[in-house]
C-alpha cells in the first residue's frame, strides 16, 4: 500500500502488470516489433501518455528515481501531472537530473545528456505503426511487417525528395531496427534519431493503439535514407539564447507580437545545468543575477 493507502503499488493491479511485463519481455526479444497488449483505461485522457504511464507502472520499483519530461521540459503540465501521479501511487523518488534518474518517461524528446547502462527510457507513443498513414488497414500493415515489405516507406521518402528536393519528414522519422523491423521512434525530432543507439533500455508504450515495443541497449537503429540523400539530424541554426549551447535541440519562442523570437534548449535540465556551470547565452543573464 502507498502513502495514500488507496491504490495498489504503481496504480495498476497485479494481473495487468503481469500482462504488460510479458509484452515488454517479448518486445525486448523482438526489437522494433509491436507487441499487442490489453491497454487499460488510465485516469488521464488518451494522448496524455497512457501507454507510457502503463509501461512505467509495470517497471517501477520503490527504489527508483523517476524523471518525466514533455518535449524535453520537466516543468510542463504533462510532465508535472505524471510525476505527481507516480509520487502518489508508487511513493517513488523524483528528480529532474538526467544522470540521477533511473527511469525516465518522455514525450517527444531524448535527453541531451547521454544515458548510461542501467537507465530505462520510456516513450509515450501516439501512433506506433510507421506505415499507418500509408496503409490504414492493420491486417495489411501486419502482413507488410511479416514479409519485410517496406518499399512503400521508401516511396514516401522518395516523393518527399521529388516534391521538396529533400526528405521533408522532420519528426517521427522512420528507423530500421537491427536490419529487420521498420519502427516509429515516436514523434521525437529527427535530431534525436542518432541517439537511439544508446546504453539504456528503451521501451515504447502506445495506450490508445494498444502496442508495446522495445529496444535493448546497443541495438542497431538506422534512419531510412538514400545514398544520394543521406539522413541528416537537423536543428534550428542558432545557439541557445540562455545557455549558449550550440549542440542541443532548440525551441523557438515568440516573445512579442512583432515577430521577435528567441531560441532556447528544449531540454530544461541540460540548459539549467549549463547555466549553473556559468555558460551564458546572448540573451541570458548569469544564474545568480537571475535569482536575485
Amino acid at each position: 500500500m502507498t502513502q495514500s493507502g488507496q491504490y495498489n503499488f504503481a496504480y495498476l493491479d497485479e494481473q495487468t502488470k503481469r500482462m504488460i511485463r510479458r509484452a515488454l519481455l517479448k518486445g525486448l526479444a523482438i526489437p522494433g516489433y509491436q507487441v499487442p497488449f490489453a491497454s487499460r483505461e488510465m485516469p488521464m485522457p488518451y494522448g496524455w501518455g497512457t501507454g507510457g504511464v502503463q509501461v512505467s507502472a509495470a517497471c517501477l520499483t520503490p527504489d527508483d528515481r523517476l524523471k518525466v519530461i514533455d518535449q524535453g521540459a520537466d516543468d510542463t503540465t504533462n510532465a508535472v501531472s505524471i510525476r505527481k501521479f507516480f509520487q502518489r501511487t508508487a511513493d517513488v523518488a523524483v528528480t529532474e537530473d538526467t544522470t540521477d534518474a533511473t527511469l525516465i518517461q518522455t514525450r517527444h524528446r531524448i535527453p541531451e545528456t547521454e544515458l548510461a547502462e542501467g537507465q530505462i527510457l520510456v516513450y509515450q507513443v501516439p501512433i506506433p505503426e510507421p506505415l499507418r498513414f500509408l496503409e490504414p488497414r492493420e491486417t495489411e500493415t501486419r502482413k507488410m511487417h511479416s514479409l519485410e515489405e517496406y518499399g512503400l516507406m521508401h516511396v514516401k521518402l522518395y516523393e518527399d525528395i521529388a516534391r521538396h528536393g529533400q526528405i521533408a519528414t522532420s519528426y517521427a522519422y522512420p528507423v530500421k531496427v537491427q536490419g529487420r523491423y521498420v519502427m516509429d521512434p515516436s514523434p521525437i525530432p529527427k535530431f534525436d534519431n542518432p541517439k537511439m543507439e544508446m546504453a539504456a533500455i528503451q521501451l515504447f508504450g502506445a495506450g490508445r493503439e494498444q502496442r508495446i515495443y522495445a529496444l535493448p541497449p546497443y541495438t542497431d537503429v538506422v534512419s531510412l535514407d538514400f545514398e544520394d540523400h543521406p539522413f541528416e539530424a537537423t536543428k534550428a541554426n542558432h545557439s541557445c539564447a540562455l545557455c549558449g549551447a550550440s549542440d542541443s535541440y532548440l525551441d523557438e519562442v515568440i516573445t512579442d507580437d512583432q515577430g521577435t523570437r528567441m531560441y532556447v534548449c528544449s531540454d530544461t535540465d541540460y540548459c539549467a545545468t549549463r547555466r549553473a556551470q556559468g555558460h551564458v547565452g546572448l540573451q541570458g543573464v548569469p544564474l545568480e543575477d537571475n535569482a536575485a
Binding site: 520499483t61 520503490p62 529496444l215
Partner: protein, 189 residues
C-alpha cells in the same frame, strides 16, 4: 494438497514482483548478464529464481509446461495455488520449466507466427550454475561480446536463425538468473 504448496509465495506481492521483474527485464535486455532474483520459495527441485519468475509472469492466462524433472505433485500444487496457471502439454505452453535435456525436443514449443512472432514460448531452464565463460554472445543488448555458459550451442544457433520467430530463454541457478532472447548470435562453446 500438502501444506508446502500454500507457502513460499511473495511476502509483499506488488513490491517483490516489481523488483523481480526489473531483474528479468534487465537480463532479457542484456543477454548473458547474470542477476540476482529471489522472493519465492518453490518446492524442490525448482530453483528460487525460476519460482520467482513464475510468480512474477505467470497467471491463469499463461499455460505452463513442466518438464519431467519438475513434474511432481508439490510443484503442480504450488503453481496452481500461487499463480492459477494451467499445467499443459509442451505444444500449448507459454512458459516451460525444467532441465535442458528434460525439455528436449524444443521443436515442440510454439515459436510464434510470422505476423505475431510474440506468440512464442519462453523456456525457463534450470542450470547447475551460471557462468560468464564459454560461448561468445553478440547482438542487441551486448556492446561488443559477452561470454556465457550455454547447455548447447547448435540449438541456440538454430533458434536464432529463425528470427523473428523463435523461443526466448531464461537460465536459472539458485537465486541467479540470465536470459537469451532469439536475437542473440551464439559462437563456440
Amino acid at each position: 494438497m500438502q501444506e508446502t504448496s500454500l507457502t513460499g509465495g511473495f511476502t509483499d506481492a506488488p513490491i517483490d514482483a516489481a523488483h523481480a521483474f526489473r531483474a528479468a527485464l534487465t537480463v532479457m535486455a542484456e543477454p548473458g548478464k547474470i542477476a540476482e532474483l529471489s522472493g519465492a520459495e518453490p518446492p524442490a527441485p525448482m530453483s528460487v529464481a525460476a519460482g520467482t519468475l513464475l510468480l512474477t509472469l505467470a497467471d491463469s492466462e499463461t499455460p505452463v509446461f513442466l518438464a519431467p524433472t519438475h513434474d511432481n505433485q508439490d510443484i503442480r500444487d504450488w503453481i496452481t495455488f500461487h499463480t492459477g496457471a494451467p499445467i499443459v502439454s509442451a505444444e500449448k505452453a507459454m512458459f516451460a520449466i525444467g532441465g535442458w535435456s528434460a525439455l528436449q525436443p524444443t521443436v515442440r514449443f510454439a515459436i510464434g507466427e510470422p505476423e505475431y512472432p510474440d506468440r512464442s514460448a519462453t523456456l525457463i531452464i534450470e542450470m547447475p550454475e551460471l557462468s560468464n565463460s564459454g560461448a561468445t554472445l553478440r547482438g542487441p543488448g551486448i556492446k561488443d561480446t559477452r561470454q556465457f555458459q550455454l547447455p548447447d550451442t547448435a540449438a541456440f544457433q538454430a533458434n536464432q536463425s529463425m528470427f523473428p520467430l523463435g523461443l526466448d530463454f531464461f537460465f536459472c541457478a539458485g537465486s541467479q538468473v540470465a536470459a537469451l532472447p532469439r536475437t542473440t548470435l551464439v559462437e563456440g562453446a
